[in-house]
């Protein structure tokens, strides 16, 4: 009797796992539990190729989904972007390039499955700092050898004074 109960419990557990969908043993990265939509990368940025994954399985919806679409209007893309089916039932994926004009902020694009499941996930679009950074004040491109100029001016001064003295002596000498 105990053995039977154990077997029934095991069967129930296995059924629960199957019904839950997306067993971790299947190909691809492990599906984070409790999430319907995955977005890579998140945060993303304008001009970046971004992947959306959806798991359309649900307890209440009518059967497995045969297709899914991503609503891209919020992101400045086509309104209905068809998603590709994967080797996993109910899992669909699509990769889009976010428009370079997309404003930074938080977005909630919606995904609709053919079986009536609809889901959305919050994702962050970060700014791409566009202006090139100012990283230098030009010292090595503009600073001159000021010390050399100072030495030269010094020599010039000494020469001028010496010349003046010599000239004066010369005149005084010629007077007497």
């Amino acid at each position: 009797m105990r053995v039977v109960t154990y077997a029934a419990a095991t069967a129930g557990l296995a059924a629960a796992i199957l019904a839950g969908g997306a067993p971790a043993a299947l190909a691809g990265p492990a599906w984070p539990s409790g999430q319907t939509v995955n977005i890579f990368p998140n945060p993303s940025a304008p001009g970046t190729s971004t992947t959306f994954q959806v798991n359309c399985s649900s307890q209440s919806a009518a059967g497995p989904a045969t297709s899914a679409t991503l609503s891209g209007s919020q992101l400045g893309l086509a309104d209905q972007i068809p998603m590709q089916a994967t080797s996993q039932q109910n899992v669909f994926v699509t990769t889009v390039v976010l428009p370079t004009s997309l404003a930074p902020g938080t977005y909630n694009p919606e995904i609709n499955c053919s079986n009536g499941v609809s889901a959305s996930a919050t994702f962050q679009v970060n700014v791409v700092p566009s202006p090139a950074p100012p990283t230098g004040d030009g010292a090595t491109s503009t600073a001159t050898n000021g010390w050399l100029t100072d030495v030269g001016l010094g020599l010039l001064g000494v020469g001028a004074v010496a010349g003046g003295v010599a000239l004066r002596r010369h005149r005084m000498g010629s007077r007497t």
């Binding site: 990265p29 492990a30 984070p32 995955n38 890579f40 990368p41 993303s44 940025a45 001009g47 970046t48 190729s49 971004t50 992947t51 990769t95 370079t100 970060n126 700014v127 791409v128 700092p129 566009s130 202006p131 090139a132 950074p133 100012p134 990283t135 230098g136 004040d137 030009g138 010292a139 090595t140 491109s141 503009t142 600073a143 001159t144 050898n145 000021g146 010390w147 050399l148 100029t149 100072d150 030495v151 030269g152 001016l153 010094g154 020599l155 010039l156 001064g157 000494v158 020469g159 001028a160 010496a162 010349g163 010599a166 010369h170």
Partner: protein, 233 residues
Amino acid sequence: MPRLINALVVALIVGGIALAYAGNHTLRWSPPPAPPKWAGRAHSPPRPAGWEANRPADRLDPKDAAKHGYLVTPMATSAPVSISIPSIKVRAKVIALGVTKAGAVEVPPLTHPFLTSWYDKGPTPGASGAAVLFGHVDSAAVGPAVFYNLGELRPGDLIYVTLKDKRTGVFKVYSAALYQKADFPALAIYSYTSWPSLRLITCGGAFDTATGHYLGNTVVFAQYVGQQSGAAP
């Protein structure tokens, strides 16, 4: 005797003028080096073996990575604290900076010419994506600054970035180029890469004395090749 004095006076005056002129017309330091054209040829980075485009590598199970022959696993997220580039004798602290209200990236103050900054709106070095570090090329107070010799880096050179968790990421340069400010490749620099990568940025090219800015930027692109515990060499 007076002739000798006359000659000396003339020599002093002529020599002094020549020296003063030369001092005013020669640069105290040479302008920053620019990378040669061939060093900037790799526009798209060589993808580490086994890495697929857009693969969410940061979520991969290490066992899965080993099964698929992934060469490297990304580092844990941790802010960078120092950078070491042995080939150009750079050793510097790294601080975290974001963007200004105008949307420009913040860089360290010119009063700290040997400090580098990490763009903290992007990924940390060694995590999937492109981590970006900035440093000054020069400053009036010291002349050549921390990234003055960035243009000397060539494909194959190694860059070490030590993180707060005391692990050091090793990155290999695959491209180095000088871009005019108007052609600054912001997307190529900041865009997400499914493997960890690193970009080092400083100023370069001709200097515009009218605006007080360099007309270009030297950008070094590197890819993550592994990690080690402890400090950089």
